[in-house]
């Protein structure tokens, strides 16, 4: 079976009705938040600047990555379909790579659609003046990074969702605003560095800004690219190795 066929199966597997419902609900958070912000502020720029970082990046992108990437292996374990996959003459790393890439594609496309809808809701007919284009290339970068980390969690743990949610909503909520070099441990901080000309440039004032003011060491786009590339590479390689040498037998089938 070719890798493309494996990939198309992996994407098909993610398009089950329940998962599509998750995509739709999570994808609508940005446009809804943007609409509310526009209604409250009356400013398209402010509404977009609120909705994209807070609803699209910090919620939709992360939650979809958790749902689709952290479940790459554990959903097969829970569904007890893993034994079919592991007894096929396909190297395990290929199965994992196909599933990782499939999850990344679905998360990236869904989040890009969400961001585009948010731009339309906030800017209306003047969408061309929004920074949506810079966000549309940044979102896939974020999807690749988060899906890689969560895929590794899926290979390492029987309860990856727990760790993925903790990483996505606790670690990523606070670490980007920590002083010194600690912020470089956050994917979101790297994305902020890459997207400084887009929506992240207009992150609203408040606690986040106050915290970020403590940090005088801004990350450069070049170092952000390097960090994310290394992070993705190491996460995916580690996930492939772990999945190849690990034993994956549903708990109630063991013994």
């Amino acid at each position: 079976m070719s890798f493309v066929e494996l990939l198309s199966w992996a994407v098909w597997d993610l398009m089950r009705p329940r998962k599509i419902a998750t995509l739709v609900v999570c994808g609508l958070m940005g446009p809804l938040f943007g609409g509310l912000a526009k209604f409250a502020s009356g400013s398209a720029q402010t509404a977009y600047g609120l909705a994209i970082p807070l609803a699209v990046y910090s919620f939709t992108l992360i939650i979809l990555s958790v749902v689709f990437a952290a479940g790459i292996i554990s959903s097969e374990m829970v569904g007890k379909t893993i034994s079919y996959l592991l007894t096929r003459p396909i190297p395990r790393y290929k199965i994992l790579l196909a599933k990782w890439l499939g999850a990344t594609l679905v998360v990236a496309i869904a989040t890009m659609i969400s961001a585009t809808l948010t731009a339309f809701v906030t800017y209306g007919g003047d969408v061309a003046s929004s920074p949506i284009l810079s966000d549309l290339w940044l979102i896939p970068v974020g999807a690749v990074a988060y899906c890689s980390i969560f895929t590794l969690m899926s290979a390492l743990s029987t309860k990856p969702w727990l760790f993925a949610v903790a990483f996505g909503f606790l670690w990523e909520a606070f670490v980007p605003f920590l002083p010194g070099d600690l912020k470089s441990l956050s994917v979101m901080a790297q994305l902020r560095a890459l997207g400084s000309d887009g929506s992240f440039a207009s992150v609203p004032s408040g606690m986040a800004e106050m915290l970020s003011m403590l940090n005088q060491n801004e990350l450069s786009p070049a170092s952000a690219w390097n960090t994310l590339a290394i992070l993705v590479f190491l996460s995916v390689i580690a996930a492939c190795v772990v999945f190849t040498v690990g034993e994956y037998v549903p708990k109630d089938e063991a013994a």
């Binding site: 096929r88 003459p89 034993e247």
Partner: protein, 306 residues
Amino acid sequence: MITIQRASRWYGQVIGLNDVTCDFNPGITALLGQNGAGKSTMLKLITGQLRPTTGDLTVFGERPFSNPKVYERIGYCPETDSFYEDMTGRQFVTLMARMAGVASRNVDSIVANTLEKVGMADRCDKKIAGYSKGMRQRIKLAQALTHNPEVLILDEPLNGLDPVGRRELQEMLKGLAAEGKTIVISSHILHEVEQMTRHIVLLHKGRLLALGDVGEIRGLIDKHPHRVHVEMAGAREFARKLMVMPSVLSVAFDRQNPDHVEIETAAPDDFYSEVADMVLTENIEFSAFTSPDNNLESVFRYLVSK
């Protein structure tokens, strides 16, 4: 084909398989044991889903764990009733066939033939979520057969099949064994396995309890009395004659059925020979002559209780 050398498998503090040594060769071998005996653990070791904690296990001379070369030649039907429920039976079997290496140009015809073979040709285009237990079992079997593997590992494949389905499967497996395939079939439905093979591997609490032909194993336990039920007119007179035979340990009557007698013997071969002589010389007629101990169930019961 499959060689297991002193293999043990631990799950933390619990032992799943304990120092087992055996081989599986062409033909049907039944892997028998109660729940928790270690049957599924052994099959997971053979199919490379687990590694032995100690000892060694090879299939076609290679260790099977995470080894695609071995999987090309193995068909595995798991015990668990799990599928991608949104797929139809045909889609699932086609996916598994492609993953097993069946060429895309042949896959449709091979899948159609296999579905026909397992009796699912007319129902395979419905979603698996709506399948009965028996239909799911047939689809599991189909996915194990599509790539024409040399070794078939079937974990409780008879579960959920109706009597006709069981008979069809038994005949199909006998046919595959006659073609030279190695078939390992785990079950706790002993009489059904007995209809397919005389060669058994008996596990109990992770240990290999017995291995070989049912008859040979039965011979190993000849210390245990072997019972024979006889039904005939004049059972008391027959019993009187039996009492003088050295091979007979005891004779018991059924109070409610005076024509029924149960004999216990410690030497079944001698007993059957002597009774055959008696039948010929004294023209005795039986209404029924059966032994409840001449089947796998009794072998299993005796060995486990030892």
